[in-house]
């Protein structure tokens, strides 16, 4: 590369002035063109903040689309595999969308702001797919990623933080509900959503007021051990929550080069998101056909593995036959269990299957191979009632 990479090669989120001084570890990652904190000081401490207190995560790099127009609801219903009719204004929905072969392009959340006004939150760029899916419809699709700064406030004490912040009525907000507040004269959208499997909220505000929101939250959370967290801790809690992540647990159909790497919702355990009874949506024909034929070849499952060495990128065997591989793995400090998300051939995706994982574990620069018995368990691994209560 001939040109020097300057320090502003990656963009800074609207919270950068607040997060940068706190990032003592110096560990930053890249996320959708932004610098994103990987770990502020201690991953373990940040992890326990999510599970036992309250945590703050800067999710501003998330890609956001605004869909408006007379046919907006029709567009969303053409796009996603769930029925948007089940989502009244003021609510959100966890959804996925597929290509014509019924292979997953991405999963994400849709907020129904009004009857024909939606916000779709994604990790990857989907603009072309959305536009092309909107052919013939009266909708406007806009990438509004930079119009919102966003924070995830998650953990058992998160509700108390928001009460302390003065958001009256927050305690009545249902799971996946949306609510609008005004904070210091700035409009603030709160959604009861998250990527942690715990009680939590996501807060959306105009970028110019981002620092104000951060400061007010940190002040309100002082007594609740509100802790800024980075992506590394988030990764741990999302695995415990059994949530899948694009680029880790599956490759989006638009990005995959190999046909065989594409995955259908049924293969990813997202069959509950597919509503074959609603009107036509992209991929419906293929998904109905897949279902008719008895389901897909692969299944995404949760695994519990003996021992305490994370089964990162492990192959899974039954006897001497390879029957799958791990996509995400960790030692769960809360459950005190060795857990993993894995893709298995369908016949072996049952708790009855007698499986073992081949774990390659580094020990002081020496790699040890461990054959650890494992079994299929229910996801989410960790699911406290407060998540939805």
């Amino acid at each position: 590369m001939s040109e020097a990479i300057t320090s502003d090669f990656l963009m800074k989120t609207p919270f950068h002035a607040r997060t940068a001084p706190l990032c003592l570890s110096g560990k930053w990652g890249r996320w959708a063109g932004y610098s994103s904190v990987d770990c502020f000081y201690s991953v373990t401490e940040e992890y326990f903040a999510v599970r036992t207190a309250a945590s703050l995560f800067d999710m501003s790099p998330m890609i956001k689309y605004r869909v408006t127009g007379r046919d907006a609801a029709r567009f969303v219903n053409r796009l996603i595999t769930r029925d948007i009719g089940a989502c009244p204004p003021g609510h959100g929905l966890y959804v996925c969308w597929c290509d014509g072969d019924g292979k997953l392009i991405e999963d994400g959340t849709v907020f129904r702001l009004a009857e024909n006004d939606f916000q779709i939150n994604t990790a990857e760029h989907n603009f072309c797919w959305f536009e092309d899916t909107a052919l013939g419809l009266d909708v406007t699709i806009a990438d509004v990623s930079e119009e919102f700064a966003a924070l995830a406030l998650q953990g058992p004490l998160s509700r108390l933080v928001l009460e302390r912040l003065g958001l009256t009525g927050i305690e009545a907000m249902p799971y996946f509900g949306l609510a609008w507040f005004t904070l210091d004269e700035a409009p603030l959208l709160v959604s009861r959503t998250g990527f942690t499997g715990d009680l939590g909220y996501e807060l959306w505000i105009e970028p110019g007021r981002a620092e104000m929101l951060w400061d007010r939250l940190m002040a309100a959370g002082k007594d609740y051990r509100l802790t800024p967290i980075g992506a590394a801790a988030l990764e741990m809690v999302r695995i415990e929550a059994g949530l899948i992540e694009i680029g880790f647990d599956y490759i989006g159909a638009e990005a995959a080069l190999r046909e065989s790497r594409k995955r259908s919702p049924y293969e990813l355990g997202l069959g509950w998101l597919v509503d074959l009874k609603k009107s036509y949506f992209v991929g419906k024909r293929a998904l109905a056909e897949e279902k008719r034929r008895g389901g897909p070849r692969w299944r995404l499952v949760g695994l519990e593995i003996e021992g305490n060495k994370p089964a990162i990128e492990s192959f899974i065997y039954r006897g001497r036959t390879e029957v799958g591989h791990v996509t995400s793995a960790m030692w769960s400090p809360t459950l005190k269990k060795n857990i993993a998300i894995a893709v298995l051939e369908a016949p072996y995706a049952t708790p009855k299957a007698d499986l073992w994982a081949e774990i390659w574990h580094p020990r002081e620069l020496e790699i040890r191979k461990i054959n650890a018995p494992c079994r299929v368990v229910r996801r989410p691994f960790y699911d406290p009632p407060r998540r939805k209560a």
Partner: protein, 528 residues
Amino acid sequence: MNASARHDAVVIGAGHNGLVCAAYLAKAGRRVLVLEAGESVGGCAVSGEIHPGYTVSTCAHILHLLHPGVIADLRLKRHGLALSAPDLATLALLPDGEHLLLSSEVQATRDSISRFSRRDAERLPGFRARLERFAGALRPFLMATPPRLANGTWRDRWTLIRLGIAIRRLGRTDMRELLRIVGICSADLVEDVFESDVLKGVLAFDSVLGSFLGPRSPSSAFNLLYRAAGESDGRRGALSHPKGGMGAVTAALAAAAKSFGVEVRTAAPVAKVAIEDTVATGVVLESGEEIAARTVVSNADPRRTFLDLVGPDQLDTDFVRRVRHIRMDGATAKVNLALDGLPDLGGSGPHMANARLLIAPGVDYIEHAFDDAKYGAFSAEPAMEITIPSLHDPSLVPEGGHVMSIMVQFAPYRLRDGGWAAHREAFGDHVLKTLAAYMPDLSGRILARQVVTPDDLERDFRVSGGHWHHGELILNQLFMLRPVPRFAQYRTPIDNLYLCGAGAHPGGGIMGAAGRNAAREIMRDWSR
């Protein structure tokens, strides 16, 4: 399946392919209804009166591809199909009054070329023979359903194997040559062999006629193979004139179809294919009338069929993308003239009677004409194919009169600077001005003039983009890729909906192949 429907099949469109498909289905004992939007049947194969008593083929004017099997199976001769000129020669005109005559008379052709190049005269028969061998290898596949690549059955594999064998059986030299030329441009092909501009111009013209390609565009050589694979009443590569104009061909087809029990309704535009849960159940007319059918067959082009009649609500985004990306901008226009007498052609006049006339005096001439179109203008000096069918078909005109049918390359669908509405008549004037160099007294003889641009074709004949083939005939849109990959078997993503028009394999021209192949696939599904 819609068991209560009165019709086994409803065919949308009474183009020649729709009629062929309907006739085959009815011949097999099925109840078939054809719904045509226009006032008469025929699609692009129609005749029209452009001046009281003067009738001419409105669009297509030369019959050279209609499959002999279709003629025989549907007994088209009994239903009125007749040729007024069975084997037209090609008379290429040059601005200086010179001309080149190519015909099935070997010696005359040789003599004519010799006046330009002895080498070329000697090499043409070999060139034609080779082209004919290639065409012979490919000909059976015009009447075959293209194979599916993924999830294919033994039948799909067998088609591919047969294609491989057919090519291999050409022998090593020919096989290499076929594989070499199939994707190249026609300019390279003819410049390899010939030296005289006039002969190269004729061959290059035929390679781009009906397409939005210049002689130097990749894949243009293929069109020569496609044309060579055609037959006219059993004569391979022959060009003919149907008696009564092209409308008489589709009239014969309609009569044949009716004789098998097909019901044809004109002025019945279809607005929508009725679909219930990914299965076609009938059609809805623009009038609001609903007609149920077990099977719906579309003779409309793929873009109209999928984007308008089916609609994106019923289709996958990636499929819609592929349909939108089909290259189907037309670039051929037609100018039809009613004349009070024959124009003076100078020295070449005597040969005119049994020939089509070409204005295509060289490869560069055609490529320049294409260049204009490439950037959104009609050709400053267009290349043309002209017929005067009244010379051998007096039924078309009153005593002494004549009609002239002029095919013009290039007139791009997307005309810049205001579009066709603003430039249509200027274009007509321009064509006549170009012709004046070859026929000085032409303009004084004109009683009436009809200009048919791609824009008119789209509006009046409902062909998206006004393309001759309902989609460019180029390598990436052929055979297994036509109209889009994975749906080249006349079937569509919608169950019980089929394509039978030129947009499907093998393409356009008055051939009847797409209609017949579609009927075969439909019956195959019915018998499952």
